[in-house]
């Protein structure tokens, strides 16, 4: 096992990795930008190293500073989390060159599978189905337009170095191509330090189902089942579940087989995820491989009982074997994860930035919260809006949805808007509860609006009236009134108290 692990990330995932390190009894080193001095991952780590200004390009994406921090603290391994440098082959290679273990696959695998373009070519060569598209890096506007016409509109522009919906734009008309290209490229450069884009035919409303895999350096490969990730906004997942309500046992079998075959063909080691699109006819296409831990990994942990972060660290530590065979992995019950993002879901998901003034977390059996939140924390504009995740497990899908809905109702994050109210409504929707949803579901669901019941309308009117009454009778309001009337506030207070005492309740 490692002597010391540096966590090259922030937020909830840095805290998640810290917890795994603690259980493995390996000291953890946090790195932090100026905006994160008081972040939870800094407070919980054994050591913490400052790596620069808030902008990720000047801190969390600075390979030189992170490697220097590892050397200074004597860390012999780096866990990249997700996002930032997690799929940066150059970073993995520099770790290898510096004699530091990158907790993940080797740099060649990241290059091959982490580059969306190269992964497409690898999978095509292995015979697995891929989405029709252009497997070339796009340079000029003319080439872009020609390729888009070849593939056929609508097309989707994607960042070769990317994931998580960043640097991604759907284009339905040729005249919008140039502007979408400019924005996608700029976003990709900022988020992944690589502005290379490619394009694919945009499948209307497919389902997004991914298979979790794990492989050791001795040729052992297993899958840990699938995750359904079709509930998305702006091509970013917002709720995930396992198992997928859309897969027949036969389709699940074919998809997990394909995932294992792709891992073998790529010679991939460590944990990873093969993402597929599934159309209405039940055909599936390889979308991309994520050569890292996923945001939604807890869903798999809940149904398999396997700690994926500890597994990831163990597989990276000199030559450890997978501690289980495929047959030994048991899938039990159902799990769902709700992503709590600092966004206003009723206003186009615009980021909601501010200080967390209040925080109440849900509890109860099989309810897990992964977050780096605390009351008083400032949600900064520099980083991803994901501020936490609520994950629940239950015997059945219905019970799981009910449990998650209840947990999200208990969650209270004051000071910023979050995606929680929207997810509460989704979890009460009949179509969602029947498992009938695809990537087109959420926009349609939202366009139907969120009506309050008559009962709630009644309660709301009473609440607003009582609130106004309170405001007008608060000591501050009374003092203001008294001042306006050029009267002593004490006189007003005394008179009002008397009036209240006389008034019937």
């Amino acid at each position: 096992m490692f002597r010391k692990i540096l966590i090259a990330n922030r937020g909830e995932i840095a805290v998640r990795v810290l917890r795994a390190c603690r259980e493995l009894d390996v000291p953890a080193v946090a790195v932090y930008s100026e905006a994160d001095r008081l972040a939870l991952h800094v407070r919980l780590a054994r050591e913490a190293v400052a790596i620069g200004p808030p902008h990720p390009g000047e801190s969390y994406l600075r390979i030189d500073k992170i490697l220097a921090a590892a050397k200074t603290t004597g860390a012999d391994a780096i866990h990249p989390g997700y996002g930032f440098l997690a799929e940066n082959a150059g970073f993995a290679r520099q770790c290898e060159d510096a004699g530091i273990t990158f907790i993940g696959p080797d740099s060649r695998s990241i290059e091959r599978m982490g580059s969306k373009l190269e992964a497409r070519r690898t999978v095509i060569a292995s015979g697995a189905p891929v989405v029709p598209g252009a497997t070339v890096a796009l340079e000029s506007d003319a080439e872009l337009a020609a390729r888009a016409r070849e593939v056929g509109f609508p097309v989707v522009l994607k960042a070769s170095g990317g994931g998580g919906g960043k640097g991604m734009r759907v284009v339905t008309r040729e005249e919008d191509l140039a502007s979408a290209f400019r924005l996608a490229r700029s976003e990709a450069e900022r988020a992944f330090a690589d502005g290379t884009l490619y394009l694919e035919r945009y499948l209307e409303s497919p389902r997004h189902v991914e298979v979790q895999v794990a492989a050791d350096v001795h040729g052992g490969v297993v899958h840990l089942g699938e995750r359904e990730c079709s509930l998305q906004r702006r091509h970013q997942k917002i709720l995930e579940e396992s198992p997928s309500p859309a897969l027949s046992p036969e389709l699940r079998h074919r998809m997990t087989d394909a995932a294992v075959a792709i891992v073998r063909a790529a010679g991939y080691q460590n944990v990873g995820t093969i993402e597929f699109l599934v159309d209405r006819a039940g055909s599936f296409f390889f979308l991309e491989m994520n050569t890292r831990l996923q945001v939604e990994h807890p869903v798999t942990e809940m149904v398999t009982g396997i700690d994926l972060v500890k597994l990831q660290i163990r597989l990276a530590a000199a030559g450890e074997r997978l501690p289980f065979t495929q047959q030994a992995i048991a899938f039990r019950g159902h799990a769902m994860e709700a992503r709590i993002c600092a966004e206003d879901p009723d206003n186009g998901f615009v980021p909601s930035i501010g200080v967390i003034t209040e925080l109440e977390l849900p509890g109860g059996p099989h309810v897990r919260v992964d977050s780096a939140l605390y009351a008083g924390l400032e949600v900064s504009p520099f980083y991803d809006p994901l501020i936490g995740k609520v994950i629940v497990w239950a015997e059945t899908r219905d019970a799981c949805a009910t449990r998650l809905r209840g947990a999200l109702g208990e969650l209270h994050v004051g000071g910023v808007r979050t995606t929680a109210p929207l997810l509460v409504r989704v979890l009460g929707d009949a179509r969602f509860l029947r498992g009938e949803y695809d990537t087109g579901f959420l926009p349609l669901f939202q366009s139907n609006g969120a009506g309050v019941s008559d009962d709630e309308r009644f309660a709301a009117a009473i609440a607003a009236a009582l609130r106004r009454h309170r405001d007008h009778h608060s000591p501050a309001a009374r003092a203001r009134e008294a001042k306006a009337a050029d009267e002593s506030p004490w006189a007003v207070f005394g008179r009002r108290s008397q009036m209240r005492r006389r008034a019937p309740e």
């Binding site: 502007s179 700029s186 501010g354 309050v452 009644f458 009473i462």
Partner: protein, 144 residues
């Protein structure tokens, strides 16, 4: 309430200014109250829903009835999000048509274009590149 007598009680939770416990005839509602312009939004956490309620007394209702809305052909586009102005794409005096990108606001690694909502000319630019803006801040005034 609509001719019905209701026993109701609204109490703040802890030191919170937004979170309240509402009891209406013994029914419990955990609510969150958010002030909005001239109104309050009441959130029901357990249902994920909200209602916007504006409270007026008799005097305010009379005032509202006699007040006429002001008309002005100039209109100011305000920011719908907090973030950083990464680029300003127009200059004062530029003619614009609906949908023309005016500036780009970056927040949480996403770039969001702010577009013109009608025909006209750019009259005033209220922000500079790299400026930090908050929800509701004026960005650009368009006029004839």
């Amino acid at each position: 309430m609509d001719g019905r007598v209701v026993g109701a009680d609204l109490l703040p939770v802890g030191t919170s200014r937004r979170t309240f416990s509402l009891l209406v005839d013994g029914h419990s509602y955990p609510v969150k109250l958010e002030p909005e312009s001239d109104a309050v939004r009441v959130w029901f956490a357990d249902a994920g829903t909200s209602a916007r309620v504006s409270v007026e007394n008799e005097r305010e209702r009379l005032l509202r009835d006699v007040k006429q809305p002001a008309s002005d052909e100039r209109r100011t586009i305000t920011s719908v999000m907090s973030g950083i102005v990464s680029r300003v794409l127009v200059q004062e005096g530029d003619p614009v048509t609906p949908g023309v990108p005016l500036l780009i606001i970056e927040a949480m690694k996403m770039e969001n274009e702010v577009r013109a909502d009608g025909n006209g000319h750019v009259r005033t630019i209220h922000v500079t590149e790299h400026a930090r803006v908050n929800l509701g801040d004026p960005l650009i005034t368009l006029g004839p």
